[in-house]
């Protein structure tokens, strides 16, 4: 039996690996990914384990690779991803790898530091160029106004002192620092300096961060030595760089020429450096992914080796691992291969162990079932070898969804999306799109595909396509064959009465709802009655099925007490109460109806309410026949007696679920204990004082009667009350389907209809716009939001109503050592 029905059978194995072969064996096991190692030294610190040194070397290598990766990303060098899966290298190859990475890192660092100094130089030269340019402009401005030279004294020169020479300093600072700079200059120098500024228009590159920054050239005029030192200090404090700027125009020009020449030289050198850097990176980029995979594999292997026990002789490592029993052969092969690769002569020994430990749950899934399995695992991982609801979920889930999301038009939209994801599957996986929401949709592509197919099916049954109906087979109704405009107006009030044989042909529409209902006033009343009943019927069948599945669990685990005292009473209770309710619905559907073919007693007027009958059954109320009408309270003779019998049966079931099981368990436990004691006495008599070790690891579970009883009571109450509330809960199938149909109808009437009912040709333009609105709303609200809501309700119906009947979900998942995620590039490794 495939493991989709029950989880795979697991064995705990002990594995003896000779120390030289251990690495290769674990590497092979990682490639097949079917072995879950147990940590045998849980109390040893991470840094006190045996192979911690190797793990650390891997960390170091990874760091270097990450450094290279960031450098590549900085330069937009594409990293080659050819999807190949290199084997984990031998431990001795690690040194080669380390050396390669070391060399690359050093080369990179050298290139970077060179580039940085070059860039810094070029930045300085650029700044200097700008300083010279702006000061030039500034001085030109001054010279063009003869007589108002800035160095000219405003006051007449004092006797004997001569004109005071103004000094000046020029430099460059960040534009955003400028206001602060000016303010501080003003404060410290008490307004005795004169500042001119000019923004550099093009951004300059910061040599360290590589970001583009905007800068401003300033020139400060001051007088005297003291102010000069102060200005200098402030410039330093504000990280402004000062540049020498000769006062004479000719010198400035000469300097500008020189700077330009140097800049040209520098840019050639710089471009050569960047070329070299790109070449180095491009060469490394070809191997980067393989390197990453190799290093991560080595790391994973050493992590695993750290979990193993060392033999006393230091000759071999002992591992304990969980293995799927059916894969023992594959694993033996892998171990043999590993030994061969390492060249060791000692075969590894694989021993199956007897254990009381709870094995992990392992479901083999494929791309189709994994989505459904995830839905189940989100609730709880199945207990070991319990029946796996995922198998049934593959059909019931999309079906229940579709009952709520019954609209063929919306279904087609969804189908288009799902089909696109499924058809382009490989390309989409390769594209490695990130984004949580996308991953959720993509992971559930097969669920969406099935959901949409089922939606189309139920949509056709409901005859709903964007809230409109198709008339494929010809309606069974013929209303006023002489239709006029007045008639059409009148049709707003159209009520369909199947008893009226002038309008109704008597032969129902062959498949699904008659399209005529779409325009009838009593459509809702008609559909509600149908959908409500259908939901209850689906629900009861679903729940009964759940109880039946529990039978498989009971027989599989040989839990015959539960089979007799849980499964049978549960079955009787569920069928006796709610199964009967469903049967009554069918009887009513078959026996009653409108029209001449049904007698007066069986007319729709006389049809009894199933709900009232059911309530009266439980309350033991017998309604009086009304002599004025020909109607009968019961649908057939002896119904009352049958109901009474069913009710009594159901009531008997309740104590049957509650009492026997804990009592039997108690007596079983007592007899077992007595047996043990007798054995112990007997053994003691025979063997003297030798202590009994027969039951190794068979720890006797503490038996607390009150606990068991309370648990059973809770289970019973949960089941009895639950079956009422769960049945009612399935009414959400009707409620959501109603809501969905109504919403889409409202959207059509309020939006699309406006566009369609325009009588002028301008309406065509309006329709164009209105269609866009209608389409957007349809997709966002009706397909996305309503779809999500229906999805969540379906999920609830499975988790709560269905799985509560049989599913425990107390297991833990099988997490084998595997290199898969390393190869696929997921980051979250151990």
């Amino acid at each position: 039996m495939g493991s989709i029905f029950r989880s795979e059978e697991m064995t705990l194995c002990q594995l003896f690996l000779s120390s030289e072969a251990a690495y290769n064996c674990v590497s092979e096991l990682g490639e097949i990914g079917l072995v879950q190692f147990r940590d045998l030294n849980p109390d040893v610190n991470a840094f006190q384990r045996k192979f911690v040194h190797e793990v650390r070397r891997c960390d170091e290598m990874e760091r270097k690779l990450r450094y290279l990766e960031t450098e590549m990303k900085k330069d937009n060098v594409p990293i080659l991803d050819n999807g190949e899966n290199p084997e984990a290298p031998q431990p001795r190859e690690m040194i080669d790898l380390e050396a390669t990475f070391e060399k690359l890192e050093n080369e990179m660092k050298e290139v970077n530091s060179n580039a940085e100094t070059l860039k810094k130089n070029s930045l300085e030269l650029m700044e200097l160029k700008h300083v010279l340019l702006t000061t030039q402009l500034f001085f030109d401005e001054r010279d063009s106004e003869p007589g108002t030279s800035i160095t000219q004294n405003l006051l007449p020169a004092e006797e004997g002192k001569g004109p005071v020479q103004l000094g000046f300093a020029a430099g460059v600072t960040l534009r955003e620092r400028m206001p602060m700079f000016e303010r501080m200059l003003w404060r410290v120098c008490r307004g005795n300096v004169f500042v001119r500024r000019a923004d550099i228009q093009q951004p300059l590159e910061d040599p360290i961060t590589g970001e583009e920054v905007f800068k401003t050239v300033f020139i400060i005029f001051f007088q005297g030595e003291q102010l000069k030192t102060k200005v200098k200090k402030i410039c330093e404090g504000c990280r402004a760089t000062m540049y020498p700027c000769p006062e004479a125009g000719a010198e400035r020009k000469e300097m500008a020429q020189g700077v330009k020449g140097r800049l040209d030289d520098l840019s050639t050198v710089l471009s050569q450096t960047t070329d070299h850097r790109r070449r180095v990176l491009a060469a490394a980029a070809k191997h980067l992914r393989t390197w990453f995979i190799k290093v991560r594999k080595i790391k994973a292997i050493y992590h695993t080796l750290n979990m193993l026990n060392l033999d006393v002789t230091n000759k071999c490592l002992i591992a304990e691992c969980w293995i799927p029993t059916s894969d023992l052969g594959v694993i033996r092969d892998a171990l043999r291969k590993g030994t061969e690769r390492s060249g060791s002569s000692v075969e590894p020994i694989l021993n199956r162990m007897q254990t009381q430990l709870k094995p992990p749950t392992f479901h083999r899934t494929n791309k189709f079932t994994s989505g459904f399995q995830n839905l189940i695992d989100a609730y709880g991982v199945a207990t070991y070898r319990e029946v796996n609801p995922a198998l049934y979920t593959t059909t019931t889930f999309p079906f229940l969804f579709a009952v709520m999301f019954g609209d063929a038009g919306h279904g087609v939209l969804m189908l288009a999306f799902a089909a696109w994801m499924v058809i382009r599957e490989k390309a989409l996986i390769a594209a490695k799109m990130s984004g949580e929401i996308w991953n959720i949709f993509f992971g559930g592509r097969y669920i969406i595909l099935l959901m949409s197919c089922f939606s189309i099916y139920t949509g056709i049954i409901y005859n709903d396509v964007f809230s409109k109906s198709f008339n494929i087979f010809g309606s069974a109704w013929r209303i006023n064959s002489n239709a006029t405009v007045e008639n059409l107006e009148h049709w707003e009030e159209l009520t369909l009465d199947p008893a009226n044989r002038e309008e109704y042909s008597g032969k129902p529409y062959p498949f699904g709802f008659d399209p005529m209902w779409q325009i009838a006033v009593n459509k809702i009343a008609f559909q509600n009655s149908y959908k409500m009943k259908i939901s209850i019927i689906i629900g009861v069948i679903h729940m009964i099925f759940g109880v039946v599945v529990s039978l498989y669990n009971h027989t599989f685990f040989r839990n015959y007490i539960s089979l007799v005292f849980e499964f049978i009473p549960q079955m009787i209770f569920l069928i006796g109460m709610f199964g009967w309710l469903c049967i009554m619905v069918f009887i009513k559907w078959i026996m009653y109806g409108a029209g001449p073919e049904f007698g007066e007693e069986r007319s729709s007027f006389c049809a009894p309410s199933v709900l009232i009958t059911f309530i009266n059954m439980v309350l033991l109320k017998k309604e009086k026949e009304d002599p004025t009408t020909p109607c009968k309270v019961f649908m057939f003779e002896g119904q009352y007696i049958l109901q009474l019998v069913l009710l009594v049966l159901c009531i008997i079931c309740v104590p049957l679920m509650l009492f026997p099981k804990p009592l039997i368990l108690k007596s079983l436990h007592n007899s077992k204990k007595r047996h043990h004691e007798q054995q112990a006495i007997a053994q003691n008599g025979e063997l003297g004082g030798e202590a009994t070790t027969s039951g190794h690891g068979e720890e006797e579970e503490e038996f607390e009667f009150s606990e068991v009883f309370i648990e059973q009571a809770i289970h019973t109450i949960e089941f009895v009350l639950g079956s009422v509330s769960h049945t009612a809960s399935y009414l959400r199938l009707w409620a959501l389907s109603l809501a969905h149909a109504q919403l889409s109808e409202v959207l059509w009437n309020m939006v699309m209809k406006i566009g369609l009912s325009q009588s002028f040709y301008t309406g065509s333009i309006m329709l164009y716009l209105i269609f866009a609105a209608w389409a957007a709303l349809t997709i966002s609200i009706l397909v996305l939001m309503e779809g999500l809501s229906a999805f969540l309700h379906t999920l609830r119906l499975h988790w709560v109503e269905f799985q509560s009947k049989f599913y425990k979900g107390e297991g833990y998942a099988f997490t084998p050592l595997t290199f898969k995620h390393i190869v696929s590039g997921d980051e979250d490794d151990a």
């Binding site: 991470a46 990450r66 303010r183 501080m184 410290v188 200090k233 402030i234 330093e236």
Partner: protein, 348 residues
Amino acid sequence: MLDSVFNIDCGYLEGLCRGFKNGILKQTDYLNLVQCETLDDLKLHLQSTDYGNFLANEASPLQVSVIDDKLRDKLVTEFQHMRNHAVEPLGTFLDYITYGYMIDNIVLLITGALHQRPISELMPKCHPLGTFEQIEAINVASTSSELYNAVLVDTPLADFFGECVSEQDLDELNIEIIRNTLYKAYLESFYNYCKSLGGTTAEVMCEILAFEADRRAFIITLNSFGTELTNEDRKKLYPQCGKLYPDGLAALARADDPENVKQVAEFYTEYRALFEGAGNNPGEKTLEDKFFEHEVKLNVNAFLHQFHFGVFYAYLKLKEQECRNIVWIAECIAQKHRAKIDNYIPIL
């Protein structure tokens, strides 16, 4: 502030802060850390805690200073994140926390400038939480009034500077006085601000700040013995928002030797306990450590209340203590001086 509306503005940040607090190292982590043989072991163990891969991109062999920087960077990133998301009045509250670091930075830079050290060499030593735009221009000033007029007048510290403007040249003692006066004004202002916020914030923060004020008063007194600081000057430096105010401070101002200080502490139950167990002999804890322990206790207690700002302050302080602990352990490991490795202050 009404507790019921607290979460509208600050609920997210409080939750975040409590989440960060849960990542603080436990006693078991410390027990593992002190067993480490090398700094790489330390790194390996820290990887399994909330610190995660914060050292992953550092080349081996590790330096203690690198660890210290990275620890601080992480804390600062977390704090900045919270500050960036904060709305008033939490924003002001968080800003207030940074003022303390600004004071330390200013003092550090001035002292450095006095010893003719270039600013660029000093800047990396400044705490990143306490930087401001004008900070690098600080060596323009040679007197405290210049410092105020040129640099500090635009910073939030301007309000605290009022008392120490003078034309005296800056020297070691002067700087120390400036630091303490600034700190006194800062603490008192912070205290009053918390009080004005009211509610649980006031309740929790005033307790912590009062202890901070008293600790400063004690330490100033103890450190002043044997210096030129007069009793009168000393009295001006005591922050007046602690439990010692006013009687205890007056008594401290009269104290002439450590024994007198101890006598003052006798009158206050919580401080008596601190002074009693303290000593410099081996096996005894120093007074400083005792104070730290008490501070940790107060900060941990802050997390017992909900809907208040104290958690942000407490978190920062606890995390700082943790950084000090890790650095201490790292230093002990690096210098192979394991005897004192247990002298860290566990965070309960």
